[in-house]
Amino acid sequence: MTDRCAFKLPRDRFDDLLQAIRQRNYLLLAPVERDGSVMWGEIEGSRELAWGKADSQAPGSYRLEAGHPERCFEVTHGPQSLKSLTFSPRQKLVHVRCGDDGLTFDSEAAESKPTAVIGVRACDLAALKMQERIFIEGEYADPYFKARREKLLLVAVNCTRAQPTCFCASMGTGPAAESGFDLVLTELEEGFLVAAGSRTGEEIIASLNLDAAGEPEQEEARQAVEACAASQTRSINTEQLPQAMYAAHDHPHWDDIASRCLSCANCTMVCPTCFCHAVEEVPTLSRDESERIRVWDSCFTPEHGYIHGKNMRPATRERYRMWLTHKLAAWIDQFGSSGCVGCGRCITWCPVGIDLTAEVAALLEKDA
């Protein structure tokens, strides 16, 4: 955990922080309780946060339970990461009209409102960085992702509570938020520690006239985050990657996974780095207008592996292998780092609880 210039934010002044952000014309999004989990919801103040709630995650299971009554960030995360806020699940691209003067194409404008996201986790920041590399770095930047990303103000929260499904420590992405945020909070027994990660963050803190944090609070924060890392029970041994995954290409264990996998694509939908999408043409019945949209897609669908005249991945065995090999190995060759940030969402939100850390361990066993 990098030592930044940290300040004490008493619990009864937490709203002052939120209002200082709102005054800068940001819409506030935060994890709010919805349908037995937390989802990004618009809030006006801290009251709407998940006070006194904690999540209990396990393979294929998520429950909200009673947590520390004085805390609002005990829920580690819900199914959403930052992905849906920057890479929209359904993005209109072009409106096509067919008239007497031929075809006309109107591109959808790339617009976004200034939005502050409260309660972003370290794994989500690592995943956002990965998606930025894919969508907006380099020669071809996606205008929709770019417009949304530029309008985000990110208020991170250091994790002090790990789920049994979390393994960010082994992926080197958490549980402390190191960079990529405007502000970072650590929830303590008495209020919060707050530090800035950007100029805007510094300005917001300066506007609040907070006391600098002393050594005891900083030590409490350090210990809480270290204990969170130490409590993580799952891990991926990244030392052998990517080569060991390529070597496992014909491993019989893929068949074992396929016997359990539903090919439902939930893992890829909740994965904060998965970026597959399909471009669909949605014409009217009259066929004089059409909407071209981009929707989240997955390497687990029957259509995804279809190229002219042939399906490259007709069975679940090939699809799961494609996903895991890309995520943990080919991603390193392609983008310079693993595609897995260790958030564990794919384990929790898999309807039948398939655990990629266990599958990787089985696939990397030499004697299999």
């Binding site: 349908d35 429950r63 539903l262 949605v282 014409p283 009259s286 069975a315």
Partner: protein, 268 residues
Amino acid sequence: MSEVPKPRLAVFKFASCDGCQLSVLSLEEDLLVLGGKVDIAYFPEASSRMLDGPYDLGLVEGSVSTPEDVHRLSAVREQCGKLVSIGACATSGGIQALRNFIDLDVSAVYPSPEYIDTLSTSTPISEHVDVDFELWGCPIDKQQLALVLGDLLAGVKPRLPGSSVCIECKRRQRTCVLVARGEACLGPVTRTGCGAICPGMSRGCYGCFGPADASFPPGRSQANSDALALHFHEALKMDAADVVRHFRGIHGYMDPFKQTAAKWEDDG
């Protein structure tokens, strides 16, 4: 120059509740568009104007459940250039295909069973005649219907996704009812198309759109209903009889749901 005649459309009903025919009428504004593109020559549910065939395009609702149905369907096929079966009954035999799993005794239901001439099974249209396309759902989705009709009238091969309901649920940013509440949900093995209505109302999916991971022609779904059934039993503590009830529902006569239910019936 004489006007090119419009293609002739016919809508036929077999054993069904008429809900899918009503989906055609529910096209609302698009129904006027459709009327402009085709001559609706035969659609008894909608109009008493019933013109003789042949027809360019036939939509068939319902399953085959009587000896008379078998003959009538054969005649329908001969009269239609393209034939599309619409809805769960037509594509997989429907809820009435539950009779396929019992010894049918019509006297238990009808006071005068001598007037009833029925087959012991309810079967999909494609078991009897060649079908050019199948539109799934109980009932069908009107947007999918408009898309398929538009494609067929434009001379394009229709294409609908064969992926799971889960993808649509996640695109709509809904919380998974199976993972977060332990609701038995068939979404992971059910074909998308409904807009994930039931999970959106915090209920498990009933599987109205049939087994996922399927592309046309039918009967080739790879949906892993066995693994989901095992999960219902082990994690949701569902007994064997209840597992059978879940998979032997609206599409109980369609593999792999049929095979999964049969395995649990043997175990139960």
